[in-house]
């Protein structure tokens, strides 16, 4: 089964670094292309969404009595969605779009996924920072209370997004049905993901159900860090960590299976 070459661990490390760099440059060209304003859309899309949500909620008078500003809920919520939805969606099509590049021996299936995950997480992080800085600057949002907790929530969401992306990407490479299911699933998960609500606002039986979703914990951690004790959050970081760990292992296994079956 194996392919044996006389390369040491460090040589392999250097090769993978080169490959990831090459893939990253390749992705940047097509994602943020020459002809379209890709980098601008990185911030533009969540910006339009946030402004839209803020307008709708203000107009409908649904502004919550909890004293939590709606713009901040929308920014933290949508940015969290970007973390898990985009990397998974981008990995779904990754192998199909990069297949010719796998002709080069050192370019492996996992490298293609890792590149896209890094790019999506980097993009979502950049848009989160730019967007919240902007809203803080114009006074629609306050600065985060506990930046370390914000960072913890963000990193947990990144982990969840990465493991989900490996699962969807590897699964799609094995069977296109996975991507077909992923698209409706992503739409269904969106309203349940905690993007537009805090767990505390829900009735108790519903709270138990949404807390089964790992990303809800991530959003709660993020908002606890952002708003501090103004809000009551419900989360269990160890539940989220265990879920992410299980998903990561499953994702890595599936990617390995997919890599064995690359065919031209």
């Amino acid at each position: 089964m194996a392919t044996i070459t006389d390369t040491s661990f460090f040589q392999r490390f250097a090769i993978q670094r080169r490959v990831l760099h090459a893939l990253m440059m390749r992705e940047v060209i097509t994602r943020f292309g020459r002809d379209n304003l890709g980098v601008l859309w990185l911030v533009g899309e969540p910006m339009i969404f946030t402004l839209g949500v803020a307008t709708l909620w203000t107009m409908s008078g649904l502004n919550h009595s909890s004293g939590v500003p709606i713009v901040a809920i929308a920014v933290t919520g949508y940015s969290s969605v970007l973390m898990w939805r985009n990397s998974a969606s981008r990995c779904g099509s990754a192998i199909e779009q990069n297949k010719p590049l796998l002709y080069h021996r050192s370019v492996q299936t996992i490298d293609v996924f890792l590149t896209r995950i890094a790019l999506e997480i980097g993009g979502a992080t950049a848009s989160f920072i730019v967007l919240s800085s902007f809203f803080i600057y114009i006074g629609w949002m306050r600065a985060p209370v506990d930046i370390l907790l914000v960072l913890t929530g963000w990193l947990m969401l990144a982990w969840f997004g990465a493991s989900l992306a490996l699962l969807i990407g590897g699964g799609t490479a094995l069977s296109p049905i996975v991507e077909r299911i992923w698209h409706p699933a992503a739409y269904l998960l969106f309203p349940m993901s905690g993007a537009a609500f805090m767990v505390d606002w829900l009735p108790q039986n519903l709270q138990r159900i949404v807390l089964l979703l790992p990303m809800v914990h991530g959003v709660e951690i993020l908002r606890q860090g952002y708003f501090g004790n103004v809000v009551r959050s419900h989360y269990d970081i160890s539940y989220m960590a265990v879920s992410c760990l299980v998903l990561s292992l499953m994702g890595l296994y599936i990617v390995r299976q997919a890599a064995k079956r690359v065919e031209f």
């Binding site: 392919t3 044996i4 779009q97 590049l101 002709y103 021996r105 690359v262």
Partner: protein
Amino acid sequence: MLSVENVSKVYATRQGPRMVLNDVSLQLAPGRNIGILGRNGAGKSTLIRLISGAERPTSGHIRRRMRVSWPLAFGGAFQPHLTGLDNLKFVCRVYGVNYKPLVPFVEEFTELGIYFREPVEHYSHGMLTRLAFALSMAIEFDCFLIDEAMVVGDVRFHERCHVELFQKRKDRAFILVTHEAHVIKLYCENAAVLHAGQLLSFSSVDAAYDFYQSTMTEHAAQHRD
């Protein structure tokens, strides 16, 4: 030394598993070459892809103790949305080579003109082949894997490939697969035939050639019945 040891490859098809290569072994020393003859669908390209490492064998081992190229054929190894230049940069980054000194050679060899900076998806078959060939010449390999690359393209392209590969790089090893026996007779010192999933080696190129011709007539006879 490049060695292929008891390699088999099974593909899943709708009619169940199909064994394309059955226990194939092959050795190639640095600087030597071999031509592999096989009819269409005999598994030549599969063997080349396995040796290159683009695909993995179902069983068996492939040991590469020299720098082995990717399958040198038509534009298989390109990302269609990238330009020719982007693809050159990509390949150079992957193999750890500075691309800048290589641009003149690739531009000159491929004769792509302004298309060198246009997306590869707009290239013709001939343009893709020229780019593929130029890129694999740009990176230094000890062993080239050639998948009927000499068959496509015009006479002028053939001549230039000939110069680059068989004159300027005559110290390198190569494996050439084709269904055209005369190509092997022209370029290879050893020959083998891929037939019914097995790789049969012969003491001389002529013996391989004779056997290959006999499988062709046998095949034709079967189809007449």
